[in-house]
């Protein structure tokens, strides 16, 4: 075994590593965050997908789960946190609130109508709140997206 050689594309190799160690940021906003915590805990065990290591700083995180109501007061802070994350970075918007304002879409004077108003979102998970299974599916969708990226070609070679 130790002398064997694996041949594969550099991009695939990097993506294989990246997609199986997507570290989210420790960051929850409202009721959806409770469901996110349940997803991280023993019963649903997000660690099975390599996503269980919630990072306490944006600098070390690969993606951000926007779990909950984004108020207008919080929105500029979320933007700052997003800008502090290192590329390549991803955003998963969890729950109706982060998707589109949720129950506050019509009369919520203090709620941003969807976190995509301030930062780009990769995956939307619908629900109020989404069950842990739904969040896991969202994470798996994100993993698929990561696996199909061509970082070397699209980001680094092009910008070199």
């Amino acid at each position: 075994m130790q002398d064997s050689v694996v041949l594969l594309k550099m991009d695939d190799f990097l993506n294989w590593g990246r997609k199986n160690s997507l570290w989210p940021m420790t960051f929850g906003l409202a009721c959806c965050a409770i469901e996110m915590m349940a997803t991280g805990a023993a019963k649903y065990d997000l660690e099975r997908f390599g996503c269980g290591a919630f990072m306490a700083t944006p600098r070390r995180a690969d993606f951000m789960i926007v779990a909950g109501t984004v108020t207008l007061k919080m929105a500029p802070r979320i933007k700052t946190l997003y800008e502090q994350m290192a590329e390549p970075k991803y955003v998963l918007s969890m729950g109706s609130c982060a998707n589109k304002g949720g129950p506050y879409w019509q009369h919520g004077y203090h709620v941003l109508k969807g976190v995509d108003e301030v930062i780009p979102v990769d995956v939307y998970v619908p629900g109020c709140p989404p069950r842990p299974e739904a969040l896991i599916e969202g994470v798996m969708t994100l993993q698929k997206k990561v696996a199909n990226e061509r970082l070397l070609r699209d980001k680094w070679v092009k910008n070199a």
Binding site: G101, K113, G114, V118
Partner: protein, 206 residues
């Protein structure tokens, strides 16, 4: 019990104009003149007989059409206080004119009586816009400091743009759907009214 407290307040604070509001439903309360709220609170706390040593909450209520018979628009500030030694509870009320954004109604802060009033008064200021005179830290508490308006006032209009963010982006408002719902509600109401009328007529015939 409210009557006794009103009498007590009138006897110790001159000009308190304390009045017991006996409610048929819900909670009774004691209404006092807003200029004397600080003295009234101090008196209730210091009195050996009542010993109101705990402030439970302060809440503001907006009545743009007045309270009951009285049609002058007011903001009511309610102080829910309790005595843990005497095991009693009471609601104190003051009413102030509504004023406007430049000219908020003023009430004396009771922070010097119960320290718990600090955040409660900030919340009341933030949401219904009552200025608390001599408050040690008079800032908004829930909304950002650069927020405009006081959201729990009945005539509050949400800002259109806050720090460059549109509060109600048109493409996210589902306007056709809203119109549809309004239309459906109207049809429902009409159908209900027609059914009611038919029922009443049937009753009359019998």
């Amino acid at each position: 019990m409210h009557k006794e407290i009103a009498d007590y307040l009138n006897s110790v604070v001159s000009g308190a104009e304390a009045k017991a509001l006996e409610a048929e439903v819900g909670d009774s309360s004691v209404l006092v003149a807003s200029e004397h709220i600080l003295k009234v609170c101090q008196a209730l706390k210091d009195s050996d007989e009542h010993q109101y040593n705990v402030l439970q909450t302060i809440s503001g209520v907006d009545y743009p059409e007045g309270v009951g018979e009285d049609k002058t628009p007011v903001i009511e500030v309610n102080y829910m206080i309790a005595s843990f030694t005497k095991n009693t509870e009471i609601i104190l009320k003051v009413r102030v004119p509504r004023g406007d954004d430049e000219n908020l109604p003023k009430v004396d802060s009771v922070c010097s009586v119960w320290t718990a009033a600090d955040w409660q008064e900030r919340e009341c200021y933030d949401l219904v816009g009552v200025e608390f005179v001599n408050h040690p830290d008079h800032r908004r508490i829930l909304n950002p400091y650069d927020w405009k308006g006081h959201p729990l006032r009945k005539d509050y209009k949400a800002q259109e743009v806050y720090q460059g963010m549109t509060v109600y982006p048109e493409d996210k408002q589902n306007i056709p759907e809203q119109d549809f719902i309004v239309e459906q509600n109207k049809l429902n109401d009409e159908a209900k009214a027609a059914a009611k009328k038919a029922r009443e007529e049937a009753k009359k015939d019998n």
